[in-house]
């Protein structure tokens, strides 16, 4: 058998192809960087991340950490934006999950109306672009709220108008009380878990559980409050002539973004939940019922644990989508990471660095989610032969 000519040998061809491809990409990259350096030099824009220490000079309408236009840097502005993104994404995930699970379960209901309405919701929301929905919520709904003078006052001291939602703000005498309240909540949660674990076995579990909840969750924080010293007060918002004094403000941009994201993602979560519940074979429910388990028990012990295995991976994908979709905040002026990045880019001109930072943040989100998913899959996969 003679030697194979090099252009027919698959291995060599493969190597050659890869070499050519890498060379081509290398050339392209070199060309691109070279051009970029030229263009940037011509525009007098320095490269590198040093610009992050420059004073920002622009205001941000919602900041969870201290920020001032005169004293804070671009870097800090990015941080504020990141926190705003996490805030709206976090709360959005909670709302979307609750709504999504409800609709998903309703789609499997035997009640014709419930199933049809849920299906209608899903079809409508999934087939209209998210940006349109956001604009709708912001411009057509929230902007249509009354002016300052005609604000809606809700029970509990909440004030609602087209400048936002104003809530009573809890005043703490000192930081220690916050710790006491939070600590009390943590202890309560732990004790609740312990108590309900034992309560599982008893009949009439519902009544005992409710009693446990009331005693533990209300009692311990109350005790913490009393132990912390002076009881705290609320600062209530008051309608002034042009402004609301006191209280905390929730931006209409935030509310619109939260509403839009939650409602949109809930439709997708509903489909994921429906697929998960359907994936559990009906024989499982029959076996459980034949053993005498009641409907709620069957759901809780047999159907949902098995469904969750199928639900969790695409569910986390939807959470990731929600986080990425929060970048649409730019359209309605909510100061999330992308919106602030856009502002920084416009003012400083550091296009490459700004885009790199933004993409790096979102890639980290994706990466972390993937890692968590892999760990979850490894641990909870059904044990097979």
């Amino acid at each position: 058998m003679g030697a194979v000519p090099f252009y027919r040998d698959p291995k060599l061809r493969g190597l050659l192809l890869q070499a050519v491809l890498c060379a081509a990409i290398g050339l392209l990259a070199y060309g691109a960087v070279h051009n970029a350096a030229e263009n940037l030099a011509r525009a007098n824009i320095a490269s590198g991340f040093g610009f992050l220490n420059v004073t920002a000079g622009f205001d941000i309408s919602q900041n969870l950490i201290d920020y001032s236009p005169q004293a804070s840097t671009y870097g800090r502005a990015f941080l504020v934006g990141l926190l705003n993104t996490l805030l709206v994404a976090g709360i959005g995930i909670v709302f979307a999950t609750i709504l999504g699970f409800t609709i998903g379960i309703a789609r499997l209901s035997k009640n014709f109306l419930a199933e049809r309405l849920a299906t209608g919701y899903v079809e409508l929301i999934r087939n209209v672009p998210l940006l349109l929905q956001l604009l709708f919520w912001y411009n057509a709904v929230l902007k249509a709220l009354p002016e300052m003078a005609a604000s809606i006052v809700l029970p509990g001291g909440f004030i609602l108008n087209n400048r936002g939602l104003f809530t009573p703000r809890p005043l703490f005498a000192d930081g220690g009380q916050i710790v006491a309240v939070l600590g009390g909540a943590v202890v309560a949660a732990v004790l609740f878990n312990v108590a309900t674990a034992r309560v599982e076995r008893l009949q009439r579990a519902i009544v005992v559980r409710i009693a446990a909840i009331v005693v533990i969750i209300v009692g311990i924080p109350v005790a913490a409050f009393l132990a912390g010293g002076a009881p705290f007060a609320f600062e209530y918002p008051e309608i002034g002539r042009f402004n609301v004094r006191g209280g905390s403000e929730v931006l209409p941009e935030f509310v619109a973004l939260l509403l839009g994201l939650s409602i949109y993602t809930a439709a997708f979560i509903a489909e994921v939940v429906r697929a998960g519940l359907k994936s559990v074979s009906p024989g499982q429910t029959e076996a459980a019922q034949a053993l005498g388990l009641r409907r709620m028990q069957t759901l809780r012990l047999i159907v949902i644990p098995q469904a969750m295995r199928v639900i969790i991976p695409p569910l986390t994908n939807q959470y990731l989508n929600l986080t990425k979709n929060s970048s649409l905040a730019v359209a309605i002026g909510y100061p999330d990471l992308v919106q602030i990045a856009g502002t920084v880019l416009n003012i400083s001109g550091q296009a490459v660095e700004v885009v790199v930072i933004t993409m790096a943040v979102y890639l980290s989100f994706s990466l972390i989610t993937s890692l968590v998913m892999n760990i979850y899959n490894a641990r909870y996969a059904l044990v097979e032969r």
């Binding site: 493969g14 192809l17 890869q18 491809l21 890498c22 990409i25 691109a32 960087v33 051009n35 970029a36 030229e38 263009n39 940037l40 011509r42 035997k110 009640n111 014709f112 109306l113 419930a114 309405l117 079809e123 409508l124 999934r126 087939n127 209209v128 672009p129 998210l130 940006l131 349109l132 604009l135 709708f136 411009n139 057509a140 902007k143 249509a144 990425k324 979709n325 970048s327 649409l328 730019v330 359209a331 992308v338 856009g342 880019l345 296009a351 490459v352 885009v355 933004t358 993409m359 979102y362 890639l363 989100f365 994706s366 990466l367």
Partner: protein
């Protein structure tokens, strides 16, 4: 032992032996369990709790339906020339949707700022696109392979010549900054659709390749693009692309957005195609190779046809997402359909309390109809494929 024949009776049988003498006569089920009454009973009122839910939902549904009909039809204003037509007056305190406003701005919504004299070119483009789409989507159409060439090769070139213009054949050039509205949305969607599938297939094959460099590059590209929001990809295309090319090129704004959308969509399409490729049993690859087909031949003749057929529903879903994503070119200054609605919305000539809602509802209806039609098509294909599998 003699078998005792018992007549059909209502008494329980504990006899040691029994033989049925006469078959049971045909009987109809009880009236309350079949027909309309039965359907209502099982589906709406199977239990007390469910019955209450039905009543509540009927009330909710009725309330929503009434509000919609009032707003969209009864109280709506159909004709008029400016905001006076849609403002609430003493005689008409409740104004519904201001359709007159949509009618007035309709040309802008469809053509953007395209010169009026050249609008016929946009119409021809729409017609050609519709023809090509129908040819490919109608599964029984003749010579669909020619249809593919028409759609993927001829149509893009012809559309570019028509819309952009070509001096030498007498079509004046129309700058892309003037394009707007439905035209732009369709252009972006069409380009995305036409480009993302081939690139997606290439990327998917690359990701499954045995050559490590190719696999690495494909995977990196796909995961990178899928990990970031589309808006950042558009920003990158819009802001960074001009930096990376020599100053003399200065790529067109629309072109930058198209590149961004196409690459983004291709990455997601790659995953869809990859899933399809993975679902083909290994035996198919082995049989193709055993027959002596080369890598590219087996791909073209055996593997890809099957993979694509299986993933058509997911491909269409990807296209639906792409269609919705065209709205994001909003952020890089391209006047797509949604942006024209936004611009029209703040037109002072039509400033009324209902203008915003009307504009958005109109846009929502258009998008909903298009996307829903696509998803029904996907479901239809899925069902047809499923019956093909049944014996």
């Amino acid at each position: 032992m003699d078998a005792q024949t018992l007549t059909v009776s209502a008494e329980p049988t504990s006899a040691r032996a029994y033989v049925r003498a006469t078959p049971v006569p045909a009987m109809a089920p009880p009236a309350t369990t079949v027909g309309a009454l039965g359907w209502v009973r099982t589906n709406l009122f199977p239990s007390v709790g469910s019955g209450i839910l039905t009543v509540l939902l009927l009330v909710l549904l009725g309330w929503i339906a009434m509000w919609l009909i009032e707003f969209l039809i009864i109280d709506a204003v159909w004709t008029g020339s400016d905001r006076e037509a849609c403002l609430p007056t003493a005689e008409r305190p409740d104004i519904g949707a201001c359709w007159a406003y949509i009618g007035d701005r309709f040309a802008y919504i469809v053509y953007g700022s395209y010169p009026i004299a050249g609008r016929w070119r946009v119409d021809v483009f729409f017609a050609m696109l519709a023809f090509g789409t129908a040819w490919l989507l109608w599964l029984e159409a003749p010579r669909r392979d020619i249809g593919s060439i028409y759609f993927f090769l001829f149509l893009p070139v012809a559309s570019f010549v028509l819309l952009h213009g070509f001096e030498s054949i007498g079509l004046p050039v129309v700058d892309t900054a003037l394009w707007g509205g439905v035209t732009v949305t369709i252009v972006v969607a069409a380009v995305g659709i036409v480009v993302s599938l081939p690139i997606g297939v290439v990327l998917a094959l690359g990701r499954r390749s045995r050559l490590p460099a190719i696999r690495l590059l494909s995977t990196l590209f796909i995961e990178f693009v899928r990990g970031v929001p589309l808006i950042t990809v558009l920003f990158m295309a819009s802001v960074m692309l001009p930096l990376f090319v020599p100053d003399s090129w200065s790529p067109d704004k629309l072109l930058r957005a198209l590149i961004g959308v196409a690459l983004f969509s291709a990455a997601y399409m790659a995953e869809v195609v990859r899933a399809g490729l993975q679902s083909i049993p290994k035996g198919q690859y082995e049989a193709a190779h055993a027959l002596g087909l080369s890598y590219w031949q087996s791909l073209r003749l055996i593997i890809l046809p099957q993979a694509l057929k299986v993933t058509i529903p997911n491909i269409v879903n990807s296209y639906i997402a792409l269609f919705k994503d065209t709205t994001l070119v909003f952020f890089v200054g391209i006047f797509d359909f949604l942006k024209t609605i936004e611009v029209a919305r703040v037109d002072p000539k039509w400033a009324t309390p209902v203008t915003s809602a009307t504009g958005y509802i109109f846009a929502a209806l258009v998008y909903f109809v298009c996307c829903y039609a696509m998803s029904r098509y996907a479901t239809g294909i899925e069902k047809r494929l499923a019956t093909g599998e049944k014996r």
